[in-house]
């Protein structure tokens, strides 16, 4: 099957190599403008922290901006900013990454600074305490930005049970204030070696130059002994999978009801075929206007204000499949739940070759857009490689999707029918009569 002449060109120019110290380098050339994005991904995040000591990876991410042996506090930001760079960082359960998007003639400077802080982090006690306060404020900020966030954190904990994936990435407020400077330095020493990192250069650069510069700035760093990583193996001990289980809350701070159904799925690495088939199914059932769920819950009944499905396979641990809906009338909860379950069964039974073909077409149609924005391309590479996929997986995405058969989809999506999802329902407080 061939869907688009251009789609096969998606990030096809991307290449990769390893430095002697173990640094994995990915180059995505894009010469349309003299700009480039540098990302350094450390393959360590919340799940690599000790249990009960959440927030170390995230606080370290903040402190990486606050000085090295060579540059005093504030210099990093000042230099990047006066060179027109847009710079930030982010922490997730699996990884921590740092990025600068800038004019290509400033790239060497950014590489110099990024390589420097990979080896020479240095901050004093006072800075540590202040930055911990900032992180505490950030935690509060995130809580208040989203009204129901505390509820979803509770649901996460039940969903993931003992796994650290169920813990908030940045730690709880209590955990944050208990982090010590030594915790930070240990995490840095354990995981911030070039041999636990990926360097991504996406923009106006060719392979040879990228190779020379990577060697020049990162080549002299020594590999480190990488610490014990968190357990991301497939864990299958979730009681809610054996029976109906709904986490409910009634709140006086919301007007609109929301619910979600979440499925705990095997680790993607266990079967590659499974992965792409699941991508196709998740998209088919709820991600477009033609999808069975959209038809039933929006076009026909209009019970929901918004719905969607999400297959999350971008972490090192188990993947998840989820369905969510926002709706106005709390009394419709059961109806929406029933429609979802019924549609899931029906879709598995009734999905046709034609449905397959249209879903694949939709999934692949827009791939050429990835070649436009070098910043977006770098982010995609970060998602895939940060979760443990290979660059080849990403480059062969189209072939993988095309190879999926209807039988594959039906066989694997049937696992969704074997277990119950974890339901979560948040509705507005009903006034007493």
């Amino acid at each position: 099957m061939c869907y688009s002449q251009s789609a096969e060109a998606v990030l096809s120019d991307a290449t990769e190599f390893y430095l002697k110290n173990g640094l994995h380098v990915v180059v995505v050339p894009n010469h349309k403008a003299p700009i480039i994005k540098q990302i350094v991904v450390y393959k360590a995040g919340r799940v690599d922290e000790p249990r009960g000591k959440g927030g170390i990876a995230h606080l370290l991410e903040h402190l990486m901006f606050r000085g090295t042996k060579k540059f005093k506090d504030g210099e990093f930001n000042r230099l990047i900013e006066s060179n027109g760079g847009i710079s930030n960082a982010a922490t997730s359960h699996d990884k921590t990454y740092y990025h600068q998007f800038l004019s290509v003639d400033r790239l060497e400077l950014a590489m110099y600074l990024e390589a420097d802080r990979m080896a020479n982090l240095s901050f004093d006690d006072e800075t540590f305490v202040k930055e911990r306060e900032v992180v505490f404020q950030e935690r509060q900020e995130r809580q208040s930005r989203n009204t129901t966030r505390d509820f979803w954190e509770k649901v996460d904990k039940i969903f993931w049970k003992d796994s650290l994936y169920g813990e908030p990435v940045g730690g709880t407020s209590v955990e944050i204030m208990e982090i010590t400077k030594q915790d930070i330095l240990d995490f840095y020493q354990n995981f911030y070696g070039p041999n636990n990192a990926i360097l991504i250069l996406s923009g106006d650069i060719d392979f040879e130059t990228a190779y020379d510069l990577a060697q020049k700035y990162y080549g002299k760093l020594s590999a480190r002994e990488i610490g014990q990583k968190g357990n991301t193996e497939d864990v299958d001990n979730r009681e809610y999978r054996d029976g109906e289980y709904t986490v409910r809350t009634e709140r006086n701070d919301i007007n609109i009801s929301r619910l979600s159904a979440r499925y705990f799925l095997p680790h993607f690495k266990s079967d590659e075929g499974y992965l792409y088939a699941m991508m196709v199914f998740a998209d088919y059932i709820g991600n477009s206007i033609s999808s069975p769920l959209y038809k039933k819950l929006r076009l026909d009944t209009h019970l929901a204000t918004a719905i969607g499905t999400d297959f999350d396979c971008f972490n090192r641990g188990n993947s998840t499949f989820s369905f969510y809906a926002y709706y106005n009338n709390p009394k419709d909860t059961q109806k929406i739940q029933n429609i979802f379950m019924q549609t899931l069964v029906e879709s598995l039974n009734n999905m046709t070759e034609k449905d397959m073909e249209l879903t694949k077409k939709r999934l692949l149609a827009g791939l050429v857009y990835h070649n436009d924005n070098p910043s977006d391309a770098a982010d995609i590479v970060t998602d895939w490689l940060g979760a443990g996929y290979k660059l080849e997986d990403l480059k062969n995405y189209e072939q993988h999707i095309n190879k999926v058969t209807l039988a594959d989809v039906k066989a694997l999506a049937a696992t969704l029918n074997e277990y119950h999802p974890l339901w979560a329902v948040a509705t507005p407080m009903q006034e007493a009569k």
């Binding site: 894009n30 010469h31 349309k32 403008a33 003299p34 700009i35 901006f65 060579k70 506090d73 504030g74 930001n77 000042r78 900013e81 006066s82 060179n83 027109g84 998007f101 800038l102 004019s103 003639d105 400033r106 790239l107 060497e108 400077l109 110099y112 305490v129 202040k130 306060e133 900032v134 505490f136 404020q137 950030e138 509060q140 809580q143 208040s144 009204t147 650069i205 130059t209 020379d212 919301i254 007007n255 609109i256 477009s288 206007i289 033609s290 038809k295 076009l299 209009h302 204000t305 918004a306 926002y326 249209l358 077409k361 939709r362 149609a365 827009g366 857009y369 436009d372 910043s375 977006d376």
Partner: protein, 474 residues
């Protein structure tokens, strides 16, 4: 044979003197050119092997052959994709009729909920399967939209776009659903502290002016909107003489002219617009606090600003950047975040509406530290007005604005958006060539003049939301 030292002594002397000269010369070089031995960011940028990348931002003005519509075009042939952005002036939410607030938003939704012979489902399935991006939306002032497609789909994308714009069906069931969606979205906005506070702030700042209205209307305004209202608004506001177009991507000037004629064929010629008055924000009233139990208090600050066309525009933008730019190096970020750990973030910016220009910013902190943070903002605000900025701060802010300029070319959607903005604000065809020079030429005096005028204690008003009790306890 015995070794005769005296024979080679002159040779050694000569070698020694040469070595001495070399060492001295090297020493002098090292002293005079510290970049050789000490890290020098400027030197690294100037000597990089990645310099002198040639790039020209060539914007053409084109006139479509049939409809004679003007557009700005930026040709970019490295990827087979095209982005068209456009806006209809004076067609934003401020122009919604009284008691029918939300009309423009509803229209934007309904344009892609069925057009021509296609019902909502069929219409959108075609877009999805061909990765055609088609979006309509409105701001306070304008009704705008974007179309993005793969070059090989140009005929299909053009047809679908034109159908949406000129032959929407406004199906009754879909309209009823869209009204309910808008109402639900409005109710959702009321839940969220940020958006709720901003809705309340708009009422405080704009009084009775239509800028006070939410794009989503009110709890009951949506219900009053009829199909006739949609058609009337469309006919009066979405017209050829009201239209600005920017195109970026894989099209030639000839192709682009043809494209425009097909995209906008069938639009009425002339707009019929009831103008809205000027709206200076009201800042003389006292600060406004909304009580709500939150883990984090949120504040917004507002002040009068200057228009986009005003010659003080760049000086003011630079002053705001220095005070509260989004980066971590602004004065307030430094004082509140870096030095005291009081907040995760503070930012400020200049907003230019057609009829109002104002500075606005957002900050947040836990209730016990919120007052202290607000005080820092007030202090830094007054200090900037009183003493201005330093040469060094100005240079840094200029460097940032100048060096980050090429990043606008990352995304063709962003480029086509810039082309529309250039026309909206009359910046000229050569704006992209001149913009950095404008900034480079701003003097310290100009910045400090505008700082003195605008960063005064009486040109600052706060709207805050959160827990006021805990604030008092502290």
């Amino acid at each position: 044979m015995k070794f005769d030292y005296s024979k080679i002594e002159p040779l050694i002397r000569r070698i020694m003197s040469v070595v001495l000269v070399v060492v001295l010369v090297c020493g002098v070089i090292l002293l005079l050119k510290p970049e050789v031995w000490r890290f020098n960011p400027q030197y690294l940028v100037e000597t990089t092997i990645l310099k002198d990348k040639r790039f020209s931002a060539n914007v053409q003005e084109i006139i479509s052959p049939k409809l004679k519509l003007k557009a700005y075009l930026f040709e970019e042939h490295s990827n087979p994709i095209v982005s068209v952005e456009f806006l209809f002036k004076n067609a934003g939410s401020a122009y919604d009729p009284d008691y029918k607030e939300g009309l423009g938003t509803l229209l934007a939704t309904m344009l892609s909920r069925g057009a021509g012979k296609y019902d909502m489902e069929a219409f959108n399935a075609i877009l999805e399967q061909n990765a055609i991006g088609l979006d309509f939306e409105n701001t306070k002032d304008d009704f705008s939209g974007a179309l993005k497609f793969i070059k090989s789909d140009i005929v299909l994308a053009t047809k679908m776009f034109n159908l949406a714009l000129t032959k929407p069906t406004f199906n009754r069931i879909r309209l009823k659903q869209a009204k309910k969606d808008m109402l639900d979205n409005y109710k959702y906005m009321l839940e969220q502290p940020d958006s709720y506070a901003m809705l309340e702030a708009a009422k405080q700042l704009f009084g009775k002016h239509p800028y006070r209205n939410s794009r989503m209307g009110t709890l009951d305004s949506g219900q009053r909107i009829t199909v006739t209202d949609l058609r009337t608004f469309q006919k009066q506001h979405l017209t050829q003489d009201n239209l600005l177009i920017g195109i970026a991507g894989d099209v030639s000037a000839i192709e682009a002219g043809d494209l425009i004629d097909k995209l906008f064929a069938g639009l009425p010629r002339h707009a019929k617009i009831t103008p809205i008055p000027q709206a200076d924000i009201q800042i003389t009233s006292p600060d406004y606090h909304i009580s709500r139990n939150l883990g984090q208090n949120i504040g917004f600050f507002y002040a009068k600003g200057v228009a986009r066309e005003d010659e003080r525009f760049y000086p003011l933008v630079l002053a705001i950047e220095i005070l509260s730019g989004n980066s971590l190096t602004s004065r307030i970020q430094k004082a509140a975040r870096e030095d005291k750990g009081l907040t995760y973030g503070v930012y400020g910016d200049l907003a230019n509406y057609d009829k109002s220009n104002f500075i606005y910013g957002r900050f947040s902190s836990t209730p016990d530290k919120f007052e202290q943070l607000k005080q820092i903002i007030q202090t830094e605000w007054d200090r900037l007005g009183k003493y201005g900025v330093t040469e060094e701060e100005l240079a840094q802010a200029k460097d940032y604005m100048i060096a980050s300029e090429p990043l606008r070319y990352a995304d063709i959607g962003n480029i086509s958006g810039t082309l529309v903005a250039m026309q909206k604000w009359n910046l000229g065809l050569d704006f992209l060539q001149k913009r950095n020079t404008y900034i480079r030429n701003i003097t310290l005096d100009e910045v400090n003049q505008v700082a003195k005028q605008y960063f005064t204690p009486d040109n600052l008003r706060f709207v805050t939301i959160g827990d006021s009790k805990k604030q008092e306890q502290r």
